[in-house]
């Protein structure tokens, strides 16, 4: 276990080294690409190794750093849960590090701020690693802020556009509100535990009321970072504007760090779990999943779409966590462990496929200079490898067997179908409804990614620069391939993964999932073999066998030739690329059926030449329902306060005096 910790420290060190090296990139731009980013990839690899070793070993390791405050030295703590998230950070970090050099080359010329990009990327990674490794709330918060701040600078990387600056500011603002909420939550725990170390908090006995307060604060804080509806508004603004490998890290990994924080705080530190928390988490999770995918469907900017889809997937993860809380709160420890494993599995999966898709979007951006789906088309024939890898990502995120997204959704379904064991009839009715929402979400996600893949990679190119797209360098492909292989492996060998993951509930809940893997590596049986079983290897084998049988059947004797010709299209003229269905048209039925949930501005105007113009904008309802009222409230409050700003120095001094007196009175 100590090896794992030293590997983790090595990862942090390498990340910091990568950040340090990049400082010199202003003089020698190639330094970033040749040294800093490979070191970054190595840091990812080290974190991956550390995580896997920690999971394998199943123990815990702690260490006190000679840093921090005198009475509060920083403590590192590595257990299975932390190890698992280290592995997530590591694998996506490594893939991004492999992908990035070629990508950075594309922006090397145009951008002045390479040191900033490299430096903050390294800091960002080390921040995330330290959050996971932290053994006390103080280090946790410091690392958390390091992660938030460095990612703020990365979001603001293309700061020449005003919209990007606005997105970055919104991100900073919400990250801080969230950070404050988490800090208060830790404050509650610390006051009961008598210290900021996690061990003290774990030992503390909270009263139910204060436990709920701590839970609510943590849910708001971590939920804001995880982009749960309605606190998601920053996410679709901030994630797309960063460089693509950073988007992959932010969407794939940083959101997972929030999930880690939530699990650590609620499952591990808070103590007695109440089932009402589960209901709240379930409700917010389902809402996020559904709204996330619906808004993703309305986007035609590829990266923005992927960002909204992250909201959806985090919703699915939180559905799993909510189920787990609910079962744990009602005393069903086995089912709680099952739901927790489902949520963790989906975290890993989402990191892999969302990282893959963001890197794919980066490859498209690199090669075709395009983010807008409406301008793409026919990329599969121009970038076949990226096309294939992106397809794997789409299949995984659409939760189709035998890929990884399906396994975690299947586990979540299995966990929710055990609702009949609950005593409360209302909960028994509620949970299957949540499961149906999950099914709707999955089907809509499939719709969404048919749209993405069909519009971007199939059909014909819609613009000239997309027509000229060339395959990307092999290092970029390698970065994507790492994640794609992960997607396939996690889909085909779920039993091994679940066996590895069941250490985590064993450690923090005291109850593992022995029966899930009790029937050999072929069979995944979360509860019992009669209740439900899934054998991904056999599904793949059967699919292959059937394909072989089918091919063999009509290989013999019948015509094999394929003749090429013009498309038929019901006998209409040869279609041009402008006659294809567009992304907006593809999603139009959804827009109409779920119209209630969007704020749609649609108008048809005739300009002075008599040309019809169709304008369509779909807005996020969260803005009008939540953010603008708050903004107005704050605005009105500030207007009150601004009256103090009279410009007279003596009045300011008077206020200072008054403040001083009040403070003195309070502390006396």
């Amino acid at each position: 276990m100590d090896q794992a910790l030293s590997f983790a420290l090595l990862a942090v060190g390498l990340a910091l080294a990568s950040s340090l090296v990049s400082c010199f990139a202003a003089r020698f731009p190639c330094l970033l690409r040749l040294v800093a980013l490979p070191v970054f990839a190595l840091a990812g690899l080290a974190a991956l190794v550390a995580g896997v070793v920690a999971l394998w070993d199943g123990g815990t390791a702690t260490m006190t750093l000679p840093l921090g405050l005198p009475w509060l030295p920083w403590q590192l703590h590595l257990d299975a849960l932390a190890g698992f998230f280290l592995a997530i950070i590591g694998i996506v970090g490594a893939a991004a590090g492999i992908f990035a050099p070629a990508y950075v080359r594309g922006i090397e010329r145009s951008s002045e701020s390479l040191p900033m990009l490299g430096g903050f990327t390294g800091l960002f990674l080390s921040g995330m690693l330290l959050v996971v490794l932290a053994g006390d709330a103080f280090l946790f918060m410091v690392a958390w802020e390091l992660m938030s701040l460095s990612s703020y600078f990365l979001v603001a990387f293309h700061h020449e556009h005003a919209a990007n600056r606005r997105a970055a500011f919104l991100y900073l603002l919400m990250a801080h509100i969230g950070g404050l909420s988490i800090l208060l939550g830790y404050g509650v725990l610390a006051s009961f535990g008598g210290g900021f170390a996690f061990t003290a908090m774990r030992a503390a006995e909270l009263t139910p009321g204060w436990a709920s307060v701590a839970f609510a604060l943590a849910f708001v804080g971590f939920g804001m970072k995880a982009g749960l509806v309605p606190l998601h508004a920053w996410l679709p603004e901030a994630h797309p504007v960063a460089p693509s490998h950073i988007s992959a890290l932010m969407s794939g990994v940083m959101l997972k760090v929030a999930v880690y924080g939530f699990i650590r705080f609620v499952f591990d530190l808070t103590g007695e779990i109440q089932w009402q928390w589960g209901v709240a988490v379930l409700a917010i999770g389902s809402l996020s999943a559904l709204m996330g995918v619906l808004y993703a469907l309305m986007q035609h900017d590829l990266k923005r779409l992927l960002a909204y889809s992250s909201v959806e997937n985090l919703g699915i993860i939180f559905i799993g966590l909510g189920l787990s809380l609910l079962y744990l709160g009602t005393g069903h420890r086995l089912l709680g462990a099952l739901a927790l494993v489902a949520a963790l599995y989906h975290s890993l999966n989402h990191a892999l496929f969302k990282g893959l898709l963001f890197l794919g979007a980066g490859a498209i951006l690199h090669s075709a200079h395009e983010r807008d789906l409406e301008h793409m088309g026919g990329l599969l024939r121009r970038m076949p490898w990226t096309g294939l890898l992106f397809l794997i990502g789409c299949l995984s995120i659409a939760a189709l067997p035998p890929f990884n997204g399906f396994v975690s959704e299947w586990l979540t379904f299995q966990a929710s179908l055990q609702a009949w064991q609950l005593d409360s009839g209302v909960l028994r009715a509620l949970i299957p409804i949540v499961a149906a929402t999950l099914a709707l979400t999955g089907a809509l996600a499939a719709l969404c990614f048919v749209k993405v893949y069909g519009i971007a990679f199939l059909g014909q190119a819609r613009t000239r620069h997309v027509r000229r797209a060339r395959p990307v360098p092999s290092s970029m492909r390698a970065g994507q391939a790492v994640l794609a292989v992960g997607c396939v492996l996690l889909g085909v060998l779920p039993t091994a993964v679940v066996a590895l993951l069941s250490v985590i509930p064993e450690q923090i809940l005291g109850h593992g999932l022995p029966q899930a893997t009790a029937h050999g590596w072929l069979w995944l049986t979360p509860v019992a073999p009669e209740t439900g079983s899934y054998s991904a290897p056999l599904v793949v084998a059967l699919l292959a066998a059937m394909a072989v049988a089918a091919a063999w059947l009509w290989r013999r004797g019948v015509v094999r030739r394929v003749r090429r010709g013009d498309p038929w299209d019901c006998g209409f003229a040869m279609p041009s690329s402008r006659m294809q269905y567009t992304a907006t048209a593809f999603a139009q039925p959804v827009r109409r059926v779920f119209g209630l949930l969007f704020r749609i501005d649609e108008s048809v105007e005739t300009d002075n030449k008599g040309v019809l113009r169709h304008r369509l904008a779909v807005h996020d309802r969260a803005w009008t329902l939540l953010y603008l009222p708050i903004a107005r409230l704050v605005d009105a409050g500030v207007r009150r306060i601004v009256r103090l700003q009279s410009g007279n120095v003596r009045i300011y001094l008077g206020w200072t005096l008054a403040t001083l007196l009040v403070l003195l009175w309070i502390i006396s």
Partner: protein, 228 residues
């Protein structure tokens, strides 16, 4: 006690009760007036069938009579009267879709869950299967009220009212083997009178506000500001 242990007759009773609940949803959502009237008639028929089953199972002879009464009144007479009203008011092809149906249906589903939750404490005193029917009948009553809230059309309002009465009747039949015959007769008579009154009322509001939309009755308020 699980369902499979109940005698077949009681299982049938539960199936019919669930179907009554379904007709309530159909009533709530139905856009066409004539179809809504048919749905109401079906609801009545189902309730009559339930009454017959309870009568066979429990041996309360007067229930046969009340089943007959229900059948005559709610399956034949009232739908026929409503039909004639609709014909006379020339509303046969009238459709009025529910606005935001998804939300209303979700509200109705929530009402079902809520009434189930309300009925839960009864388990301590009664048989489970009775509790369940009480939950269903309470849901039917609440959905009837919900229908009166969300459907401004006067005929549909009447149907909502009548289906509330159906829910109450279902509860009475299934839990306490029906009310005393005298009470039942009185209620039936009341319903009939209400029906006649409603008929007159339709004609009157039709004459005075040229529509059967009860929202238009807002104009009858004294304050002028309410008028759009």
């Amino acid at each position: 006690m699980t369902l499979a242990e109940l005698p077949l007759l009681q299982q049938l009773l539960l199936v019919l009760a669930a179907l009554v609940l379904f007709t309530s949803f159909v009533l709530l959502e139905q856009a066409r007036l004539v179809s809504a009237i048919h749905a109401f008639a079906w609801q009545g028929a189902l309730i009559a069938a339930i009454t017959v089953i309870v009568a066979t199972g429990g041996g309360a002879k007067h229930l046969y009579f009340s089943a007959l009464l229900t059948f005559m009144l709610k399956v034949l007479l009232i739908p026929w009267m409503l039909h004639r009203q609709v014909q006379r008011l020339d509303l046969e092809r009238h459709t009025q879709a529910l606005r935001r149906p998804a939300l209303v249906i979700m509200a109705a589903v929530a009402l079902v869950v809520f009434s189930y939750w309300l009925a839960l404490p009864m388990v301590a005193q009664e048989l489970t299967f009775t509790r369940n029917i009480v939950a269903v009948s309470l849901a039917i009553v609440l959905i009837g009220l919900l229908m009166m809230v969300f459907r401004p059309q006067a005929v549909l309002q009447v149907l909502g009212f009548m289906s509330m009465e159906n829910g109450l009747f279902l509860a009475a039949v299934s839990t306490t083997q029906g009310m005393p015959l005298l009470v039942e007769l009185g209620v039936a008579f009341d319903v009939l009178v209400a029906m006649v009154l409603f008929g007159v009322f339709f004609l009157q509001i039709r004459d005075s506000i040229e529509s059967l939309d009860v929202d238009r009755l807002n104009r009858l308020t004294e304050t002028v500001e309410n008028e759009r």
